[in-house]
Symmetry: C2
Subunit: 642 residues, 2 copies
């Protein structure tokens, strides 16, 4: 029995009880018991519960109340004030990055519910800059970290260059060792090598983790990281450092992104983060990792935590968006004391809440189910991180890439659906969805462009298939097509992934057989659209499996609603991949009709009795009102004034 | 021969020559002749060319240069200044709304290329308020219109109420005629009846077209429109008028939306816009339209022009977005002077422009083709409007609904793809795409929620099918599946629409047979997801047909590139509906593979030689640099500083 079959068998066992429940539910859509929101919130939060509660409570401070009236300059100032006060509480330390990663992430995650600018500004300082120094540096760098903990040294992360967006290996900033003075000389050789889009660079950062190509004794050793002071204690720029402001953006106005040029800036030998690579005083280079490419992999390890925080932020934003839109839609009627307009002009209106319409339900409830799925998948990723070790390490890269791309693309679609489902109210800043859409739009391309990240997911799958010679399309799973149960869904999702892997591996393999490695690379390039699809298929299968396992092992009172949501998530992902199922005959046209009907049935279960179950599942996210904030989600929209 | 067959025959004739060209193109992807941009721009602009050129030229004024540094208050002030200066030029008059509708629209459309806040603020004043007064008023209202032309009386449009978003028939503001004083009493009976989200209401409007339920002599006569002064000449609120500011929004910060309550505000008898309905001094009501619902249809006619302007604005935004993203991607390489990272970490990089990747081409070129398609479809709608008459009038409602929904939903997807394809540069405000995404996010729900508008498209199709008994699925067209030509594409798009109509009409008809009108309405409600799909299928077919006719009748030098774009648009819409084709056996799995391959082939033709053809087609939009503005589209991004 292969691992995929084992997974399926486990699912079947877990879900046997649930299937019966579902049949009952279909007969009586209102029979699903709404979960206790507190119990659900408790289930969704696995670590650092007290810390999270304390930070949520701290965020009651009026300084953290939304203010959408500000200009860019004003919002930057407010964000700095918010950051200073938050950091002043010492809820966590930058040393937790390596000492207690879950605590580190938990503290930063709480900011997602308040303001994305604040979350990103703290993330850049603590994770990208601080985390990199903590991981790649040694004890001699601890004084810097201690000053970062007090914000005496606000930090930034100077990796990206104007000319080398996603290609970090190709950066051109140089670091040359000068044995005469025992210094490194950091230099920007041309404008394309200027550090670009660096959060905190324009105004606030005093120290930076700078990526540069190291040359020692005339030998190139690949990208290394150096701690470079950008500004003195009074905020004046250091000699040789030139900075420009990247100016206003689509969102994230509280973060001061900037561009930076180094003109032969000299830094002491200790500026090199030297846990893995050292240059001794006489100018001898040593590194525990021989291969430049592997070395590089170690250098950019800090990006993984950043990627996880971004994925979680996307998921947390969906929690807010779905809760706001579902609550408002459940209360919003198109009330009319007048006869309805004739059908040729306007659709039917009445006292029915807008959440009762299938068009609304499909958009909001698929978003609800997806948000749960991605949250639970992230919990699995966190377990992998805690587990550690080289095998988990490889997995973490793949899983964090897939979940970052998947959750941020889902986030974009889900928040957009929430916005549209609220009509004009969704466009009003006070209701939070619109500003989140603006602020977070960047998450699909920063910390790894999603299209490139999906290639990161696909590559190892194709490599493994190529090695194993698994290039033949697997037969479709035998499923009861007209009665799509959770077990069937799991089988179908796993099969689609294998199917796409086999097809791509066959094409790339054939090209390799014809023309070697170059032809294989070209074939991969030519298939990048299918590669992205494979990345999605992997993400769907991984997240569904995580969700199914979680639903099965949840406290009894939560199992039923979680299983229902898990089913809905899986069904929606089948719909997203329906072309593949139809083309290969894995689902018949009748089964596809049944699939759509089943999605609608589950939506109606969630929306029954005024959306009782859906509303309870939103409450299960555990977002306190002072962070939910949206007037349409908290008060009675009917009494809205101004 | 039915109309659909005639269409197909015409297409086949028109496209015979083109098919040969395409075969040649496939053998040699670089053989397509790039069109002369000036000739293309000339072809795309059908009316008021000199006026448009004059306004574009006027917009060189530094007052209209982008400024993304402002707070909401500052941007509102700037927008008012921009509007005043523009209106001061008297490029057109509010009387053109009825006198020369194409001129009226042309003038307002030019603002789409400058700033959406300005376009909307002018649109509310001239179209919604002015146009309604021009159309529903009589000569006695002309003094008001003349003062609107000079901006002495800035106007707003008080239709929407807090409790009655899309259900205009259900508004609750009342207008009671008082024969004693010969006045109407305008009143807001409860908070849900407050006018809500009204552009210009919060600060600037002095006059408003107010929708209210008219009662004369105790008899309800349905919604009517009244001209009501909100503020006096000095900007002070009139007695009985209370206003609240709707505050910051996701975008459109230059427009001051507000909420308004009327406390038994008395207006003279002449305040009623009385072209169709009159109340004489003694209090006798007369109307040339007996039926309240039909009367209502006349009242909201002004929305059609607004809807057309919004659709065109969405298309114009796509022109900007696609041009910016294509130009940048054609120049942007992931240059590297270092050996590439191993494939397990990052995908292949090199000196290849990012536009060379199929993932980029599919996103940008489908957007390019769709933008052309929607623009040409809008030209057909404008012809319908000019044509006039009752039959065209019905058509205008359906077509404007479909094209507004289709073009704004396309806009959201296309601008998003453009944003992501530019990476971080797309998030930078100066490059325009991000701010357009923020400002325009509302276009999918204002001036008619897209989901509701798609129902407007579907309803008459279903009614007609029901009457004609056309509820049987039509047989799939016989097409050469593995060689998808433009004629095949047209047949398949038309077939899908008919297929969806037949299926829905059958379901609604069966429900009606079982349970009468109420059951039919419930069946329609239960199928709203498929209704939306039908709206899309209609929009796809309508736009493709318009595109194909335009391509066929274009000047010879433009025919080839236009036909290629038309084919790509059609193929992409087939991909969007692929489930339907596979399920019904209209396309075999092999044909679907061929479909995807063909999309890729056309993309490669457009992207060949550094994207020569695609770039020329972008230039064909005729956007001058001073309105394109984005640094990444105009200058050399490599020399970017700050």
């Amino acid at each position: 029995m292969g691992s995929s079959e084992r997974r399926v068998a486990a699912l079947l066992a877990h879900l046997a009880v649930q299937e019966q429940d579902e049949e009952q539910l279909e007969r009586n859509p209102t029979s699903a018991a709404a979960p206790c929101p507190k119990a659900m919130a408790d289930f969704l939060t696995r670590d650092n519960k007290e810390l999270r509660a304390a930070i949520f409570d701290f965020l009651r401070d009026p300084l953290y109340a939304p203010n959408y009236h500000l200009s860019m300059a004003g919002f930057r100032e407010l964000t700095s004030q918010r950051m200073a006060k938050f950091v002043g509480q010492r809820f966590f330390s930058v040393f937790d990055y390596t000492r207690d990663p879950l605590k580190f992430q938990a503290a930063l995650e709480c900011l997602n519910f308040c303001d994305y600018s604040l979350a990103i500004k703290d993330g850049v300082h603590f994770t990208l800059c601080g985390g990199t120094i903590a991981k790649l540096g040694t004890e001699k760098h601890h004084p810097i970290l201690r000053k970062m903990d007090t914000l005496e040294l606000p930090g930034c992360f100077a990796m990206t260059e104007l000319g080398h967006g996603s290609n970090v290996m190709g950066i051109e900033t140089t670091a040359q060792y000068d044995p005469a003075t025992r210094e490194f000389v950091i230099n920007t050789p041309n404008n394309e090598a200027s550090k670009f889009w660096i959060g905190g660079m324009a105004q606030t950062a005093k120290v930076s983790a700078v990526f540069a190509q190291l040359t020692v004794n005339g030998k190139w050793e690949g990208p290394h990281v150096f701690v470079v002071r950008l500004r003195d204690d009074h905020g004046g720029l250091m000699p040789g450092v030139r900075v420009a402001d990247n100016g206003p953006k689509q969102g994230l106005l509280g973060v001061d992104n900037g561009q930076c040029w180094f003109d032969h800036v000299r830094v002491p030998r200790d500026a090199l983060l030297d846990r893995f690579s050292q240059v001794d005083a006489s100018g001898r280079y040593r590194c525990s990792i021989d291969n430049v490419a592997q070395r590089f992999g170690t250098m950019i390890g800090g990006l993984t935590t950043g990627r996880m925080l971004i994925a979680q932020a996307a998921i947390d934003a969906c929690k807010i968006g779905v809760t706001v839109a579902t609550r408002y839609s459940a209360r919003r009627t198109q009330a009319s004391s007048r006869p309805a307009a004739p059908s040729s002009w306007l659709g039917p209106f009445g006292d029915r809440a807008i959440l009762g319409y299938i068009t609304h339900q499909r958009r909001l409830f698929s978003g609800l189910a997806t948000t749960y799925a991605m949250h639970l998948a992230m919990l699995h990723l966190k377990q992998l991180v805690v587990q550690g070790g080289p095998e988990a390490g490889k997995q973490v890269h793949v899983v964090s890439s897939g979940l970052k791309a998947g959750s941020t693309w889902h986030r974009k679609r889900i928040l957009n659906d929430c916005r549209e489902c609220c009509g004009g109210m969704g466009f009003m800043a006070a209701n939070k969805i619109g500003p989140m859409l603006n602020d977070m739009d960047v998450d699909t391309t920063f910390e790894g462009d999603n299209t490139v990240l999906m290639q990161q997911v696909a590559k190892p799958l194709l490599d493994a298939a190529g090695k194993a010679g698994a290039t033949r399309a697997p037969p479709p799973p035998a499923v009861k097509q007209l009665d799509l149960c959770a077990a069937c869904v799991g089988k179908l999702l796993a099969w689609r992934e294998q199917m796409l892997v086999a097809g791509l591996a066959a094409d790339v393999g054939a090209a390799a057989a014809r023309g070697g490695a170059q032809a294989a690379a070209a074939a991969f390039d030519d298939s990048l659209d299918r590669v992205t699809t494979l990345g999605w298929a992997w993400t769907d299968r991984y997240s569904f499996d995580a969700f199914a396992r979680e639903a099965a092992s949840a406290p009894a009172a939560l199992r039923e609603p979680l299983s229902l949501l898990c089913l809905l998530y899986g069904l929606c992902r089948l719909e997203a991949g329906v072309e593949c199922y139809l083309s290969a005959g894995a689902l018949s046209p009748e089964a596809v009709k049944a699939l759509h009907a089943r999605v609608n049935v589950v939506c109606r279960q969630l929306g029954a009795e005024g959306g009782r179950l859906a509303l309870a599942l939103c409450d299960g996210f555990g977002i306190p009102d002072h962070l939910l904030q949206a007037p349409i989600a908290i008060g009675d929209w009917r009494s809205f004034q101004g």
